[in-house]
């Protein structure tokens, strides 16, 4: 079964002259870790927002584990870590987890149990009672991931999960993601870091200017960066 099936999705922001996504299709097979690559303005974040139900005015179809979006049961099976650190910084890690756990409809007992588990997975157990504002960038990224993992999703969507973090935190996040994928979690990783994509993912989808321009196994690509530049061109993308 496919964890995610995106079929001919077209979307444009109001007032924008061009489509952010144009006839975009993508499939992520269950159990796979797949990279979503593309230069700035390729439509990666827009795609993530559509898949996670934040944007609804699009044409085309999105299926999550066979359920057509928008669907509440499909939404529950997704874990999403946005590119921005989307946490309440004056709350502690545990308070953030309690809050997002309740939003995910976990019971009080489940929140306690899962909070311990994800804090352990992301190496934050010793800092659980500290306000997030006191965390380093790497710790905040790890907690951003922990929140996405809290309700045990089957499909994890990550938007630039290692931006601005030190090598230690990055390594920790890689280890965590590999462990989760090994345990059966499907992961779609949107990233600019070629090394990260090549190291973690078994397949890759390349997007540019709202269109899918490549979709295939990572094993067929020797040098991902060279491949990326060949496909998307060397001109600057400042949009």
């Amino acid at each position: 079964m496919n964890a995610l099936d995106i079929s001919s999705v077209t979307f444009s922001y109001s007032g924008a002259p061009v489509c952010a996504l144009q006839n975009f299709s993508l499939t992520v097979t269950e159990g796979r870790m797949q990279a979503l690559l593309g230069p700035n303005g390729a439509g990666k974040s827009t795609l993530m927002r559509i898949v996670t139900g934040q944007m609804k005015r699009y044409s085309g179809d999105v299926f999550i584990f066979g359920r057509k979006m928008p669907d509440h049961r499909a939404l529950v099976s997704i874990g999403y870590a946005p590119q921005a650190i989307s946490l309440y910084t004056t709350l502690t890690a545990r308070e953030n987890l309690r809050f997002f756990g309740t939003m995910a409809n976990l019971s009080g007992e489940q929140i306690l149990e899962r909070s311990e588990a994800v804090l352990g997975q992301t190496g934050l157990t010793d800092h659980a009672e500290e306000q997030v504002a006191t965390y380093s960038g790497g710790m905040q990224r790890r907690l951003n991931l922990a929140v996405a993992l809290l309700h045990s999703p089957k499909l994890l969507l990550l938007d630039e999960p290692t931006v601005g973090v030190d090598p230690q935190s990055r390594h920790h996040i890689y280890e965590t993601l590999m462990g989760l994928n090994k345990a059966g979690m499907t992961i779609l990783l949107s990233t600019h870091m070629m090394e990260e994509a090549q190291r973690l993912c078994s397949s890759v989808t390349l997007a540019d200017r709202g269109k899918m321009i490549y979709d295939g196994p990572m094993s067929e690509i020797d040098n991902l960066e060279k491949f990326f530049l060949e496909k998307t061109g060397r001109g600057l993308r400042d949009e």
Binding site: Q54, M55, H72, Y80, I85, S86, L87, L91, T102, M103
Partner: protein
Amino acid sequence: MILRQLRELIRKEILILLRDRQTILLLFLMPVALIFFMTLALKGVYTDKIYERQIQLVIENESKLPKANLLEQKIESHKLISRVDRPKGMDNDRIFAENKAQALVRIPRGFDEGEKPVEINFDPVLDFGYKIAIRSLMTSLTVEVVMDIDNLEVIVANMLVEKTKPNREIPSPLQQTVPAYAIFAMFFIAIPMSIGFLKEKNDGTLQRLFTYTVSTNLLTLGKIIPYYLINVFQFVLMLLVGFYLMPRIIGFSFQLGDHALYLIPVTLVVAAATTGFGVLVAALARTPEQSSTLAATGAILMGVLGGIMVPYFVMPVLMKKLALISPMYWAHQAYLDIFLRDAALVAILPKLIVLTLFAGICFYVAGRRVQWI
């Protein structure tokens, strides 16, 4: 399930707010400080001008005849008057310029014979109310002496009786400042409310919430309820400060009136209006800077127009008409109805209707303009 989510949304907002020292200062300490200082500043407006303060008066009796002496004695012994001697070598202008006296009374030669009148000279900057009071006093005392009447007030008392409610002739300035600055601070809730909303939008936490099964209605309630509760708490706290703390510190009394229970419906409606204003600012502003400017300017303007900073009864006619457009005016008058006028609920009701309409318009416009993502 939904109630659990709502409770958690409220808990989250309150925790964030309680950990923000600037917001606590703005919502709770600012009104206490304003009540304290503005009560002292308004003392002159609210106190009994005639009996609370004495006028420094130079009396010059040039006649020295019996009637002139009697008048001099009557003026000197009046409680409104504090007699001062003319400083040596000082003319009238200098006496006033150096604030040695506020008025001069000269009883000339020929007064007893009815040839010359008593002369009064006022400090040009003296409050008009004092001038009228002194002129009226001098007239009464002169009539008493000339007409050989023992006490004119007793005679007048048989013709004119005052029926003002006991102890309500002059409200304490606290009666004005406690509801005024409680309302003022309640409107400032718009600042943390809108900044919190925009911050969540900008840092992506709001977008993240939409990836869960949480409706916009629930998120809206989760934003409105905590700030509404805080508004009610603000008023209760200011009332306690006005009732228990301020009288001990600055000595003014504070009365709740005969219908203190009416404070409940009035406060609930006022809190709806203030929360509505907050929601409107949050929906209209695009950046936190915009929202704080919009909220603060809006609240200050409403305060100036609504009789918060300058008491309504001292405003000129035009300003009194303009006051009607400020929701703070309606809120303040509703509280003054309870504290000072012992008004029936039916008299307060029109004010509550205006405030409810204001809240409704704010919520409606905000609902049409809000952009969640």
